[in-house]
């Protein structure tokens, strides 16, 4: 492990890797700062740009985009009360009031520093937890892997922000799409309808580009908004640092707040499907609860910016724990990273630490270092990026459509991939309109093969007996956890609909 860590650190000094981290951090912050483009869309749009790269710079490029975009979302949240990403919604609650008070610069600086701290703390957890979890995962047989896949799927669906049933429909669609192509036992082609190009199955990359990027481009075409921001109120970096230090009275409280929120973000990130927005709101509420002046929250306090920002960036490291150790993506963005790894023949999961230790540790160390890049470039660029919110979204939408058409073709020089991407782009736009969550579809598509393969293998070993899933302790615990997560989600939804009726 130590050898891999040292090797990963050393490889970060290669020019190509430094360039990847630099460009990734800058582009991530830029895209995150544009309202509507979250980390998932940023990753989906920029994924095609990694096709010609070696695996090391491509992975570093993507993880620095992931972290950069999570921070970038706070820029528009603080400046114009329009969160760039879901994770920055809670940031706007106190960030924008601070701007109204004339403290936009200090609020942005607090957001940057706490984002970086959140990212670093979560990476430390990632480096220590992921190998342990992967070692544990090595004990898993087909029955346990099936139950794990099922658990991942149920928790993703139960945490989907919209209707639970629609979450199931989305996941079902993903599982169904995963069955297209060659089956894992007999080797027959299923649901290909004589179309030669999908006889072996549908590729993940065009699906992800379509669902995340093209569908977002369509939404952007519907919007024409651009808002004026007075960038003059933000001073130079050094003056802002001085002002911020003066403005934060109790630095100890701020430090504790950042640490607490980072821990919350990491833990929530580990849970598949919970995501940055859940983490940011939980951290914000916890901070409000712990504060001696909860009534001040919402009126413009720095803790109200620090807590959600530390938490939403800590989610990135947390989400990578199950992604790398078990092959279960913690979020839509993590699923895109997983897709990028699979594209390079690296299969995330317990064996990844043995078979591709160099890449695994490079991801972790790379993410740690990318936080420092974010600190530098975020600090230098934030003021320059403020006018980005003025970009008309429909121009951006037109550009995104072209990039998705080029990128999906460039992946394998295949027109079918471009067509697949288009079909899924339209599907994604329709799903967004119908308020059907997209992440369960992607995660189910990824987990579908794992679930089916292990279900059939377990039944093959047990001679067709389903008892095998209940007699193995780990499998039984995972099935029980799946059941509990579903019941909890059902109860929450019932309560929510009752409250709605009362209103």
């Amino acid at each position: 492990m130590i050898d891999y860590i040292i090797e990963a650190f050393l490889s970060l000094f290669y020019i190509k890797n430094i360039t990847a981290l630099t460009v990734g951090s800058i582009v991530g912050v830029i895209l995150g700062a544009i309202p509507g483009i979250g980390s998932s869309t940023s990753l989906a749009v920029l994924l095609p740009f990694t096709f010609g790269m070696d695996i090391q710079p491509s992975v570093l490029f993507l993880i620095s985009i992931y972290g950069g975009a999570e921070y970038g979302g706070s820029i528009s949240a603080i400046a114009i009360n329009t969160p760039g990403t879901g994770g920055a919604i809670a940031t706007a609650l106190d960030g924008y009031p601070l701007t109204e008070k004339g403290f936009m610069g200090p609020a942005l600086l607090v957001s940057l520093v706490t984002s970086v701290i959140g990212g670093i703390i979560s990476t430390i957890f990632l480096i220590t937890l992921a190998p342990t979890l992967a070692n544990f995962g090595l004990r898993f047989g087909p029955a346990e892997m099936f139950s794990l896949g099922l658990f991942g799927l149920t928790i993703i669906v139960s945490l989907s922000q919209t209707n639970l049933l629609k979450g199931f429909i989305s996941a079902g669609l993903g599982l169904l799409l995963a069955t297209i192509g060659i089956d894992p036992i007999v080797g027959t082609s299923r649901f290909s309808f004589g179309i030669v190009t999908i006889t072996a199955g549908i590729n993940l990359i065009p699906i992800m580009i379509g669902l995340f990027a093209l569908s977002e481009a369509f939404r952007m075409l519907e919007s024409k908004k651009g808002i004026y921001i007075d960038t003059q109120v933000v001073k130079g970096l050094f003056d802002t640092i001085k002002d911020t230090i003066k403005l934060i009275d109790n630095k100890r409280v701020m430090a504790i707040c950042t640490l607490r929120a980072s821990l919350i973000g990491t833990i929530i990130g580990i849970v598949p499907g919970a995501g940055a927005n859940v983490a940011a709101f939980v951290a914000y509420n916890e901070e409000k609860r712990a504060s001696k002046h909860p009534e001040k929250f919402g009126t413009g306090v720095f803790e109200g910016v620090a807590a959600p920002e530390a938490a939403n960036n800590a989610v990135v490291g947390g989400a990578l724990v199950p992604t790398l150790a078990l092959g279960i993506p913690g979020s839509g963005s993590a699923a895109l990273l997983l897709g990028a790894l699979m594209m390079n023949d690296v299969i995330p999961g317990p064996l990844m630490f043995e078979q591709n230790g160099d890449i695994t540790y490079l991801i972790m160390i790379g993410f740690l270092v990318s936080n420092f890049y974010l600190l530098v470039f975020g600090g230098l660029l934030t003021k320059l990026l403020l006018p980005l919110s003025k970009i008309r979204k429909d121009i951006l939408g037109c550009c995104l459509i072209v990039i998705t058409l080029v990128g999906s073709y460039a992946y394998r020089n295949s027109e079918t991939d471009a067509l697949t991407m288009f079909i899924f782009g339209v599907l994604g736009w329709t799903m967004r309109k119908l308020k059907i969550p997209i992440p369960p579809l992607i995660l189910a598509f990824i987990l579908g093969d794992l679930i089916e393969r292990n279900l059939l293998s377990a039944l093959l070993i047990s001679g067709g007996s389903f008892l095998t899933f209940f007699t193995k302790p780990i499998s039984l615990i995972l099935i029980l956890l799946s059941f509990i997560s579903l019941i909890t989600a059902l109860m929450r939804e019932r309560k929510h609909s009752k409250n709605k009726l009362q209103i």
Binding site: F218, D394, G397, C398, V402, Y409
Partner: protein
């Protein structure tokens, strides 16, 4: 949203049983008591039918539509979708990149841009970047058309 939910669930209630029916054409299992290729798709399809039924019944039973209505008719997006379809028809004739430049113009027009500055400068700058990266740097062999 109520009507949209009913249409959506009805669609699934038609498609899923059809796909279930198709699974009978899959070859049988290699060994007795061991599931074959149709086993897993059938479980998924069965579950989808159940969920669609619940959505269908619960929405039919609702007397009023909820306030969260959706606007499906979005002329800009529909025109953009038609433009992309036109792109797929066009590129075998005039080439992938040429077709993209053409649809980029159309998309800008659809979005409501009429100024010469945007219609002239943006495509040139944007396609220079895209072409340099994908064609010159990554050497992606974009299809050329029959005529261009």
């Amino acid at each position: 949203m109520r009507v949209a939910n009913i249409i959506l669930s009805s669609l699934f209630l038609i498609i899923c049983p059809y796909l279930y029916f198709l699974t009978y054409s899959f070859p049988p299992s290699l060994r007795a008591r061991i599931p074959g290729p149709a086993y897993w798709p059938r479980i998924v399809l069965f579950m989808m039918v159940i969920f669609s039924l619940i959505i269908f019944i619960s929405n039919v039973r609702k007397r009023q539509d909820t306030k969260d209505t959706i606007e499906f008719y979005s002329p800009v997006v529909i025109k953009a979708i038609i433009t992309i379809v036109a792109f797929f028809i066009m590129f075998p004739f005039i080439g992938y990149i040429n077709s993209l430049i053409f649809i980029f113009f159309i998309l800008l027009l659809i979005a409501g841009f009429r100024t010469a500055k945007i219609l002239a400068i943006l495509p040139i700058v944007f396609f220079t970047i895209i072409y340099s990266f994908f064609k010159l740097l990554l050497k992606v062999p974009f299809p050329t058309g029959n005529y261009f």
